[in-house]
Symmetry: none
Subunit: 416 residues, 2 copies
Amino acid sequence: MEADIIAVGTELTCGAVANTNAVWLSQRLLEAGVAVRRQITVGDRLDDVRESIERSLGAVDVVLLTGGLGPTQDDLTREALSAALGRPLESDRASEEHIRAFFRSIGRPMPEANLRQAMIPAGAMALANAWGTAPGIRAEAGQAVIYALPGVPREMRETFDRYVAPELRERASGAAVAVRVLHTYGLGESIIGQHLSDLMTPGRNPSVGTQASEGQISVRVIGRGASPEEVRRLVDADADRIRALLGDVVFGEGDDTLPLVVGRRLTELGRTVATAESCTGGLIAKSLTDVSGSSAYFLRGYVTYSNESKIDLLGVPRELIQSHGAVSGPVAEAMAAGCRSRAGSDYALSATGIAGPTGGSADKPVGLVYIGLADANGCAVCELRFGAHLNREAIRDRACKTALNLLRRRLYGMRT
Amino acid sequence: MEADIIAVGTELTCGAVANTNAVWLSQRLLEAGVAVRRQITVGDRLDDVRESIERSLGAVDVVLLTGGLGPTQDDLTREALSAALGRPLESDRASEEHIRAFFRSIGRPMPEANLRQAMIPAGAMALANAWGTAPGIRAEAGQAVIYALPGVPREMRETFDRYVAPELRERASGAAVAVRVLHTYGLGESIIGQHLSDLMTPGRNPSVGTQASEGQISVRVIGRGASPEEVRRLVDADADRIRALLGDVVFGEGDDTLPLVVGRRLTELGRTVATAESCTGGLIAKSLTDVSGSSAYFLRGYVTYSNESKIDLLGVPRELIQSHGAVSGPVAEAMAAGCRSRAGSDYALSATGIAGPTGGSADKPVGLVYIGLADANGCAVCELRFGAHLNREAIRDRACKTALNLLRRRLYGMRT
């Protein structure tokens, strides 16, 4: 089964707000066994909405509309649905009573305009909205079913969960879908693609695809089949194969992030960490403390932006900075070692580099970053050279992720 | 002039990520004088992408594709474009050389798969992508122009600004559009809306709208008219009126951010700042150092997550923590004062609070945060109580923005 999602609202097409409803609905539909073919967003224009409905009706099994059910003149979903179905709008008695009762309950007079919200196409069904005044609408057209849901995210979700999800799960039975998403750090997308080329052939089930997001490459496995058990087996088998093919660059799955994985491992081992940052300016500490409960393993962070603060707070020898420069392997090492001993932590991460856009030289260009990792056995330093294609924000982001990934690998005894 | 935006990627239709590109592009297109008719999202299926292109080509003046230009087999925008235009793919010599040079610059061997990225439909033009390997594509079909842009947001934005925006502004001339966006911090959206109600009537030119983004409320003024001069005059008059109505909650315009505005003012005054953070975990330091050149005024940051580190690094008296708790006004004050004296800075910001989701109590609930600001005249503390509708990330974000806004107001001599 396939669905189209049509979001209605000029606030979306003019870029004032993001269509978060589409993200949420796509996930829920997939979980109900319905794949989303298209997400479409149109402004508050009758012909555009009608035409979108007509096109989708001819192509998919389920059409989900969101928005355009409000009481004002620019709310046109009802009219567009009526035109697309070729059925006149009629007032739904129960909805009318619900709207009157809503205004009585908040003690305000009902504007006449709100009665528009009780209008639904002949033969359609109103989906009572306990969370606002706009009822949803359910209609059938040939083999397809159409749902029009409120645009307010909370009302949309409640209406979907109450009326739409149960019906779709029933209709989709016999077409199960399962999804797993594996996250990697350390290899480029094309290399990952080479490793997985056998799995990524078009038309294969499960489908395997990659996605790059700021240096992190995720691999998505979507399986379809007759039963949940069968499809789960297919997807699990692929995920196992992907893990075997990619090895330890896979750092997690689903909601996992590098700080979360590092934090979980530190907790398991009962170890602590501290940070000493120059070019990343607090980003590594911020990322580690994104995780609730990080106070169990994150002790403290030093943001040593100036040379004086590196000397004063971390005990980096002044001569070391003078002879090698603040952006150098020896200084990264001294920062990590000094941080570890002063914080009394098991591990310490340091970063010093040139995030740009200014401050680079032929010798030390923008994008040059040194990461240090100190533990009981000493201190490792790695030199990173990010190309000119990354801006300041991206250089800092990659430096942070590389530092966290280095710590992850150390915590798991992997080669660093 | 009207445009359709077609985003390609199964990660979008399966709800794994939000289509933030569509939001950004819709805004920029509007600023260039082009209205967006539809935003369409399709998965990585050749026929769906091709069909979407064909439909849009018949309906609008400009078609903007994003995504599907990567090196792997599931990147199909090139093939779909070729099929929709009825023109074969050919390798673009300059793009091929660019891709080879990219891999030389990062010192890695080039996977053969990356050469796919140099393929463009015959007669089309490659749009060099200085920020990645995937070039964009520009093609014409009858009266319409098509641009295919990379899906990575940063690369998409750079490519759009360099190649697409200038051409569209020229094509759209005759229908002048001007946009100004004012940013505020400190008042809620409905209060801002009340202040501006006279300007926000539907159908008015310029149109004035508000948009909330993580606590920051922006006011967008979009004017339309026959000449650039006329429309600029209209929009400037509105912006002046908005500034007069809202006063000093307006902190900037356009690309301004709180850290940028604070940094600019510190530079003007020749003053310095340092930070001492508990619950924000480095976020304030990270935000201040987001700004290139921040080393001129940002001296150092302390991320004092543990009690010991507050005592050790900032000289917070142990008794103070014992009697008031680490999350308290007196501790925020001692953190800021200790930070300022140890860093030798003109200003110091501190933050201590309960970001949650755990760690709250009836007395000190999740969302309670104290911000301290120390300067030569002493130390001010403000208590924030964020409601249960904000999660950990949002609480940390608002605490950081409130701290930066407090410093901004102090630097401009406004009431704090």
